[in-house]
Symmetry: C2
Subunit: 345 residues, 2 copies
């Protein structure tokens, strides 16, 4: 392993923002996208870090995302707030709406944010952490591309459909989980294919619905959900709630619309925000202190909370900077020098 280059979080944020501005993104959009990418890198989520820049540039180069979309907030004053991303990335839309969502949740006890017509590439934990920082519990979910078969089925129909949950804790680190409802990421199967290695059983099926450990067959067949029929039911719920219910694309329509899975998917997203203070008020208990009893007891028996590794990486990155390899530094420099030309085929 070559010596890493240590880059501060702020410096990396400035560089990534500049790359996107250089590629034509409206500055507010560039900042929002860069912020979530750098957060992924800072937390050592390599799959959602600067690796994602290329995918964003590709969809920009293909003209399939609006670089200068201005998120439009629609607030009827009810418990459902909407933000139209206008065919831009989801992150500026979320950023434009998060304060309104949090305010409404505190007023009404719970509120929902509908994000319409966005391109999505980022982990959902960024959204639920933003709400936890405002003292709110939240659930976030969205469809993706139809690569996953329902339990007992044979054909891809569901997305890898991520779901994330956030719960505020007294310190800076909330309780957060964020996972795909597929048993594995599509990228992991692709990595096995390139390495000529079989995939574990239970990851995928062939075109007849039979189990396969051959990555090529798996990619041509369908992936499977985590947890068998239970995971399949949750993935179906995500299609219904974050797709059909919003009148936005489900995973199959998203795949058809983009003409295959090579570019980022376009669809909607749903975020529910709940105010523990409102829910607990009549009980006389402090919901956050109650939550600590559970979360403390999980830790006390030696079990790791979800996101614990991320938070440890974050602490180190904020203290020591982010470690980037020679190749990563070279790629950043290439994006800076060439902009969209860096991803021209």
């Amino acid at each position: 392993m070559p010596d890493p280059h240590m880059v501060s979080v702020d410096d990396l944020l400035a560089r990534v923002t500049a790359i996107f501005v250089g590629c034509g993104l409206r500055p507010e959009n560039a900042q929002a996208v860069a912020r979530v990418i750098v957060a992924g890198e800072r937390d050592n989520c390599k799959s959602h870090g600067i690796y994602r820049i290329e995918g964003c540039l590709r969809v920009l180069a293909a003209g399939k995302v609006s670089p200068d979309a201005v998120p439009a907030l629609h607030d009827s004053g009810k418990a459902v707030i909407e933000v139209d991303a206008g065919g831009g990335f989801s992150n500026p839309a979320f950023d434009a709406a998060v304060d309104a969502l949090a305010t409404r949740a505190r007023e009404t006890g719970l509120a929902a944010l509908v994000i319409r017509d966005c391109l999505h590439f980022s982990a959902l934990w960024h959204d639920v952490e933003a709400l936890a920082a405002r003292g709110l519990a939240s659930l976030s979910m969205c469809p993706s591309y139809a690569f996953v078969a329902p339990a007992g089925g044979t054909e891809p129909l569901l997305g890898t459909n991520p779901i994330a949950f956030g719960w505020p804790r007294p310190g800076p680190q909330p309780y957060v989980f964020d996972f795909a409802t597929s048993v594995a990421a599509r990228g992991e199967i692709e990595l096995h294919r390139r390495a000529g290695q079989p995939i574990p059983e239970g990851w995928a099926i062939d075109g007849d619905g039979a189990p396969t450990t051959d990555p090529e067959t798996a990619l041509a067949g369908a992936m499977l959900t985590f947890g068998g029929h239970k995971g399949s039911a949750i993935s179906t719920m995500i299609e219904l709630m974050a797709g059909a219910m919003l009148g936005e694309f489900m995973s199959r329509e998203a795949l058809d619309f983009m003409g295959g899975g090579g570019l980022l998917p376009r669809h909607g997203a749903l975020v529910l925000a709940l105010d523990p203070g409102t829910f607990a008020a009549r009980s006389g208990r402090d919901p956050i202190a109650e939550g600590e009893k559970l979360l403390g007891a999980i830790g006390a028996q030696g079990a790791r909370l979800p996101s614990a590794r991320r938070f440890a990486a974050r602490e180190a990155a904020l203290r020591d900077g982010i470690a980037l390899s020679d190749a990563e530094m070279a790629q950043l420099a290439r994006f800076e020098a060439q902009g969209l030309a860096a991803v021209a085929d």
Copy 2:
């Protein structure tokens, strides 16, 4: 197998209601409890059918449930409605609040129902089906007793924590799932113990956190969640949202309060109701028709939707009656004749 006795749904409902009235339940409470028990029997969910009468009578005989509790609705006019079950069964409380919840969800787009201080024994699908019949999507969840270890842990801390989701469909049968977040039910482990058979791997761990297939060791150790760390995260979410957030018991406190798992647990419950019409309005799409595209495609590839078996059993029961065995008929007669004395130790 002996010849079954065919009993109409209405006749069984009348008999079960009379049993509970005879045991001192307020008539409205008896009807609500009987309705959900007979619905389970009608749907051939034997584990949630008349088998449950005995557990209800036991907790009545122990004086640990209020037979004449009158559910108290608390409606601040916001998106969160509360109903205090007053130490009674959860079902009358839900019934007392479901119309207010549905009305509020249609007004605000989404609303929540908090059920406080209830005893819980019934499947959650009954609740989400009631909301689907009113045109609403819904999520329902509650803690239970601390029999399940978190992923990576060694000690029971989480409940078997069920979660249910309902989505309205054009016909009488909604999309519904309802499952425990434990990989198996505790009763299934007990059945293996009685039969002297090992349990499958992955169901439970011993007191040191090591996998076990011995049912005795499993019952003294801890059960596991479905889907590994993902299922564990969802179970933890249920503890937080339907326990800590409401200021009601989580599964460990429920177990401590009732002095062991022999009687029904006392805790709260959370139901979220969402109005697809409100969420989809700006899209111009019909969310129910969109949902049918997905659900139809699942069926078209030969995959069974959750609850399909239940709905088929329901159709048969409504047409032909419910088939009860000699033993079941005898038990009903015993409860009718003896009331609470039938469960005296």
